[in-house]
Point group: C2
Chain length 299, copies 2
């Protein structure tokens, strides 16, 4: 099976479709690259592109995407709720098949160095590719966003970039380049209008407040549905499986007299994570994703 | 996405590896054919080969497999517990992707006609490809096996073949060619040594005694594990989902004071069936197998 690396750049543009089309076109122009998903979010004025390739062409695709974004997006004119510091804001590489996390760290470093040198954009390495431990956390890298960073990068040693000039790019800002496990965006809706319930459960389960490792969670009220939601990012499903997250949220809700209405997976989910859920449901012994018929045909 | 048809021939030889190797080699010799699985069963003296291809080359692969079996297997010398009437015994075509059941019925008829004419082997169309309603059920087609059929085919109108000579092939017997949904072999082990419990539950759930449609079930005692097992074939998981089968067996067991120890999927399972289980577990709304990352990359 050939190696598959996934790359998930986040761009600070979610409204002008022609801009995102041109960026996607520049990525797709690399032979062997497959665009898997493009999600434009006008509210956050941000787009997430997901593409896959091999160990070499994924680097070229990522670089062309960064270059197109630096030519087409002016961050000084960008407004949107989501924290950001660059036209291309974050650029993670994800191991999918036949490739290790170490491979992805190496790929991230090669691309980061090339962006710094070729596009004159400062680059911060984050998550598994972080060169300073505090930068493993993207929030630390992006603290104060574009507006604060453009001053801090000049004088604050803790904000010096890992690659590229020690000066913000005037319109493209700075880029966080990293390597991470596939991220699963998972939301659970609860049969309650009490935002406190969702916020309490989110605080209880998320890693940052002592809950389950590799779980990020926030509580929201969904106006349209009239229910509250625990909205989560699972950053390593091999450490904390989805089944455990679901059962924990369900138990916490029931302890508050609240039921789970439904849940949703936003975007893509790795096959192994789906198989793990099926195996837990049925108490399957010795089951593997290698038993999935289509996998045998396609791989 | 290109059309994918699966073909699952059952051969009456489960002991001589060189024979099965030569049959598999003859199937694989067709360009674009992918062998997915080969299972030799020495006890039943029977082998199941699973392969996939497109609408055209799957026909050539199936024909070459039938021809090789007719040259290498002599049914007059075959012994084994499993009912059988041919060297190549059954030859079902299964719609996987971008292809309908009607397409598979057409493919089965083309291959059946070619085998009848080219190899001089009588062919009976079964399941979705049956030309007589009673032949939808394979057991009716194979009644009395090779030994009875070789006389009956000469005089009994109800045993006349759909294609090929009205006379058994002296060494290759007869072949049942059909079209069906992917079959899922699913077993549930129960924490009991009482064979009666497994047999009772099997009788309660199987279609043939008024249980759930598209479910076949038998009860066994597993000597090695010291537990009983409900052993099932699910012949259309879109009609009776695996989750419903599991929950029904679990409830029936619990009503008898027995717990489910574990379950197992034997062989392959379609991606949609795995996704359905994950969706049921998490109460997922609007989830589809199109959200599986690898599917986007491979398909």
């Amino acid at each position: 099976m050939p190696a598959i690396v996934e790359c998930v750049p986040n761009f600070s543009e979610g409204r002008r479709k022609d801009v995102i089309d041109r960026i996607v076109f520049s990525i797709r122009s690399v032979p062997g690259i497959k665009i898997l998903d493009v999600q434009m979010d006008p509210d956050h004025n941000r787009s997430v592109v997901t593409f896959a390739g091999g160990k070499e062409n994924i680097q070229e695709g990522a670089y062309r995407g960064a270059r197109a974004a630096s030519e087409l997006i002016d961050l000084t004119k960008h407004e949107g709720e989501h924290p950001r510091m660059g036209a291309l804001d974050v650029l993670p590489f994800v191991p999918i098949a036949g490739v290790t996390m170490e491979d992805c760290v190496e790929i991230a470093n090669k691309v980061g160095a090339r962006i710094g040198k070729g596009l004159k954009i400062p680059v911060y390495m984050y998550e598994a590719a972080a060169k300073r431990p505090e930068r493993a956390n993207l929030e630390n890298v992006r603290k104060g966003e574009f507006e604060v960073l453009k001053e801090a990068i000049l004088t604050d040693e803790s904000r010096y970039p890992d690659y590229g000039p020690r000066m913000i790019h005037p319109t493209a800002g700075a880029i966080a380049v990293g390597a991470r496990m596939p991220l699963i965006a998972f939301n659970i809706n609860l049969d309650s209008k009490d935002l406190k319930v969702a916020k309490e459960i989110a605080r209880k389960i998320r890693a940052s407040s002592g809950g389950m490792p590799k779980v990020k969670a926030l509580g929201f009220y969904l106006e349209a549905k009239g229910v509250v939601q625990v909205s989560m990012n699972l950053t390593d499903y091999t450490v904390t499986p989805i089944s455990k997250v679901f059962e924990t949220v369900k138990a916490e809700a029931e302890a508050r007299g609240v039921e789970v209405v439904e849940s949703e997976i936003i975007g893509l989910i790795p096959l192994d994570a789906v198989c793990d859920l099926a195996a837990k449901f049925l108490k399957l012994g010795g089951f593997s994703s290698n038993q999935v018929l289509e996998r045998r045909i396609w791989a």
